[in-house]
């Protein structure tokens, strides 16, 4: 899976970002370049997990407002600022799902479902779709999040690790376990 240039940064890019963030702590109006850089990414992340775009736009604004409000607490950890924004977005989404239980939505393409089957060395037939949907819908929240990251958003492990604040190895292990679970469920499709 290719590295996402919008997410991964060279040390120079990280430094540039850090300078803007430090300036934004003093003057929020300096936050513009960060807002412009990450707006689409965060919106897509949020919208991927919701059904209606209006809520997604509102929640994205909320994420940036929260980020600006808590900017003084932000500490640089050697990863792009985006991973902090993703965590805020994740928390905001969790909060929303807690309050409005029907809000959580899974959005995928048929090609994503095919990708899941083929990654599990299983053939994919269109008649499997309702069953695969059911398997995904029944996944635990954390497992579903990993599936969304890996198969629906096609994120590389390095990026998943940075967003979840875990090591890349840990991300791979988690994914391996989920794939094992999926394999069992998908292999039942044959029966």
């Amino acid at each position: 899976m290719a590295i996402n240039p919008h997410f991964h940064h060279t040390s120079e890019q990280l430094n540039e970002e850090l300078i803007i963030i430090e300036a934004s702590k003093q003057n929020p109006e300096k936050f513009g370049p960060i807002y412009n850089k990450y707006y689409k990414q965060i919106f897509n992340y949020v919208y991927q997990r919701l059904d209606d775009k209006e809520t997604a736009f509102d929640l994205t604004s909320q994420v940036f407002l929260k980020a600006l409000t808590n900017l003084s607490n932000y500490q640089f950890k050697g990863v792009p600022f985006g991973s902090w924004l993703y965590r805020i977005a994740h928390n905001e989404l969790m909060q929303l799902f807690k309050l409005q239980k029907g809000k959580k939505t899974i959005n995928a393409d048929i090609s994503d479902l095919r990708y899941i089957c083929e990654s599990n060395d299983e053939p994919f037939y269109e008649e499997y779709i309702p069953l695969i949907k059911k398997i995904i819908q029944e996944l635990e929240t954390d497992d579903l999040q990993m599936i969304e990251f890996r198969f629906f958003e096609k994120r590389p492990f390095k990026e998943i690790a940075e967003i979840l604040n875990i090591s890349e190895v840990n991300a791979k292990v988690r994914m391996h376990r989920i794939i094992e679970k999926l394999k069992k469920s998908i292999s039942k499709l044959k029966l």
Binding site: E29, F31, G32, Y47, D51, L68, I106, D109, K133, Q137
Partner: protein, 595 residues
């Protein structure tokens, strides 16, 4: 509860996502949130540090006041005097801060159009009215004079007639050394630049060239800049660099060719590029296959006589004992010239074993293997016939050859039939291809025509917003952002004084204006009448006027005829027609003002 599952939901476009991007709004929200938080935050009161500081400061203040009260009565008066003065100065300052631009309606607005331009590259912006903003590379700096990196947002809007001027709230009075003039505009624009909400500035020694499309082609106008500090227009220069325009020569056709598309066009392209070529390939394959299935007649072998002087072998075996060898009865095998191992003494040996098998040229020669004890000899031999055998064989050959010729002719006829069929099919496909190509060309030219018509319509509609027939561009070279105007100053109205009263068109109630504009259609000027003297105004009876009134968020118009009726009536009672409740379109106002 199981989450909802959407399969193949359409993706949102970048434009739709970017439409919701509003950094200024975010900063505003953040600031408001900070203010609200500060208002409700009482934690400072609980701080020990704050409490001690407050006690010490309080004690010091009490001591100072007591000292002043006891020993310095006169200073008390000064203090009092100063305290009385302060609010007056403050109120004066606050009135000075009032903006020179005062929009009469919160809803009726001429909105800015935003354009992005890269500071390093510069470029040309084309506004919807065909006006152009030409930006040289590296034209912008920030408030500290540093070159801007990246894109700059240029916000731009234009004002072309009385309606635009009224809703803009831009003053149209020009004060030239104490003498006031009403300005007649040939076009006005407001331009500003920013990056991420921060204002940017035009760099020293750099100029933006603005070609303003104007509805007036006369060259009696001057260029002015609105100085918002001195609240007056600044004369810049004569506005004499005019370029006359025609409606038709502005059509931009550069993007036409790659922007046309329709389902029919795509279908035709698919037919021409994919479907028909595939059919052509397929028909070739089918006919090649059919051709291979045609029966291939075998040409009979011509019998030969042995060449004179060439060595021969005769197979002298027992045909009775080995009936399979009877086919070789009377056959004379001629030893080929290629056998370098042939020796004449081979004829003297009585070979114990003889094998005959297919030779290197199938049907023409044989491999004769002769064995005697350990000696094995291999010879390539050619079957020949002699005497009556040859004659009989030749007769058979002639008969078979004639049959062969008939079969060959039949096959050639079948082949020809197949080739003709193939060619007919290919010709049909080529005809179809040409037809589709023609249809594609027609569809493309019809789409281009449609696109051109649409562009022309759009261009016309842009021009129509400028209202007049004659068009021109007016060139402004600006070194700072702001409001610029191409104006002709007219003396302030002179003539009869009117003390107006306004009533609704059904004569049921009096209308009290919040703002009043007098539109002089003869001199094409708009005057904002002051409410201080009860909206009194002066009019020239030889000119034609109408009135625009804003009252309680409603917009009223007194038409030219009603104006004339009112001024001829000594009561000076003007009948107002409400355009619409809460009108939101400047076009409604233009229509009502007969612009």
């Amino acid at each position: 509860m199981e989450p909802k599952f959407n399969l193949n939901r359409p993706k949102l476009s970048d434009e739709e996502i970017n439409k919701h991007k509003n950094f200024d709004q975010l900063v505003k929200q953040f600031k408001q949130q900070s203010i609200d938080k500060a208002k409700h935050d009482k934690s400072w009161w609980k701080s020990k540090k704050f409490r001690y500081t407050a006690i010490i400061t309080g004690t010091l203040v009490i001591c100072t006041i007591s000292y002043l009260d006891l020993f310095n009565n006169s200073s008390n008066k000064i203090v009092k005097h100063e305290t009385n003065l302060t609010p007056k100065i403050q109120s004066k300052k606050s009135s000075v801060k009032k903006s020179v631009i005062s929009e009469p309606s919160a809803k009726l607005k001429i909105n800015y159009t935003s354009y992005k331009i890269n500071n390093a590259k510069g470029g040309e912006i084309k506004h919807t009215t065909s006006s152009k903003i030409k930006v040289p590379a590296n034209s912008f700096v920030d408030k500290n004079g540093k070159d801007i990196i990246g894109d700059v947002t240029i916000d731009y809007r234009e004002f072309h007639d009385a309606a635009d001027i009224i809703v803009s709230g831009i003053p149209m009075i020009y004060d030239s050394v104490g003498k006031k003039f009403n300005l007649e505009s040939a076009g006005m624009f407001d331009v500003k630049g920013s990056q991420n909400g921060e204002p940017v500035f035009i760099k020293k020694n750099k100029q933006l060239n603005i070609e303003l499309t104007s509805s007036v082609s006369e060259n009696r106008f001057n260029q002015y800049y609105l100085d918002t500090v001195s609240k007056n227009w600044q004369y810049l220069k004569r506005d004499d660099k005019l370029t006359l325009l025609s409606k038709t020569n502005k059509l931009n056709t550069s993007k036409i060719n790659h922007s046309i598309s329709s389902p029919k066009l795509e279908n035709l392209k698919n037919q021409i590029e994919v479907v028909i070529p595939r059919k052509l390939d397929s028909v070739k394959i089918v006919y090649a296959k059919k051709q291979t299935l045609l029966s291939k007649p075998k040409e009979p072998l011509k019998p030969n006589k042995p060449a004179p002087g060439r060595p021969t072998f005769v197979f002298d075996g027992s045909y009775h004992e080995f009936p399979e060898l009877s086919v070789f009865n009377n056959v004379v095998f001629e030893v080929g010239e290629e056998n370098k191992n042939y020796r004449s003494n081979m004829h003297d040996i009585t070979w114990t074993d003889v094998k005959i098998s297919e030779g290197p040229v199938k049907g023409k020669n044989y491999l004769l293997t002769l064995v005697y004890r350990r000696q094995v000899e291999k010879l390539i031999v050619y079957p020949t016939l002699t005497g009556k055998d040859f004659e009989l064989a030749e007769k058979n050959y002639n008969q078979k050859f004639n049959e062969y010729k008939v079969l060959i002719e039949k096959r050639e006829a079948q082949e020809k039939k197949l080739v003709d069929e193939l060619q007919a099919k290919q010709t049909a496909y080529f005809t179809e291809l040409t037809k589709k190509q023609k249809e594609l060309d027609n569809e493309r030219s019809s789409l281009i025509q449609q696109l051109k018509l649409n562009e022309q319509k759009q261009l016309n509609s842009s021009f129509n917003t400028l209202s007049n027939q004659t068009k021109a561009t007016r060139l402004f070279s600006i070194s700072q952002f702001g409001i610029y105007n191409s104006d002709c100053p007219h003396n302030e109205n002179s003539g009869k004084i009117v003390n107006p009263a306004f009533v609704s068109h059904d004569n049921t109630h009096v209308v009290n204006p919040d703002a009043l504009y007098l539109i002089n259609h003869s001199s094409k000027t708009v005057t904002n009448i002051s409410f201080i003297e009860g909206f009194k105004f002066i009019y020239d009876p030889s000119n034609s006027y109408s009135i625009c009134v804003f009252s309680k968020n409603k917009l009223f118009i007194c038409s030219k005829e009603l104006f004339e009726k009112a001024v001829n009536n000594n009561k000076h009672q003007f009948t107002l027609h409400e355009i619409t409740d809460n009108t939101e379109s400047v076009m409604d106002l233009k229509k009502a003002l007969e612009i």
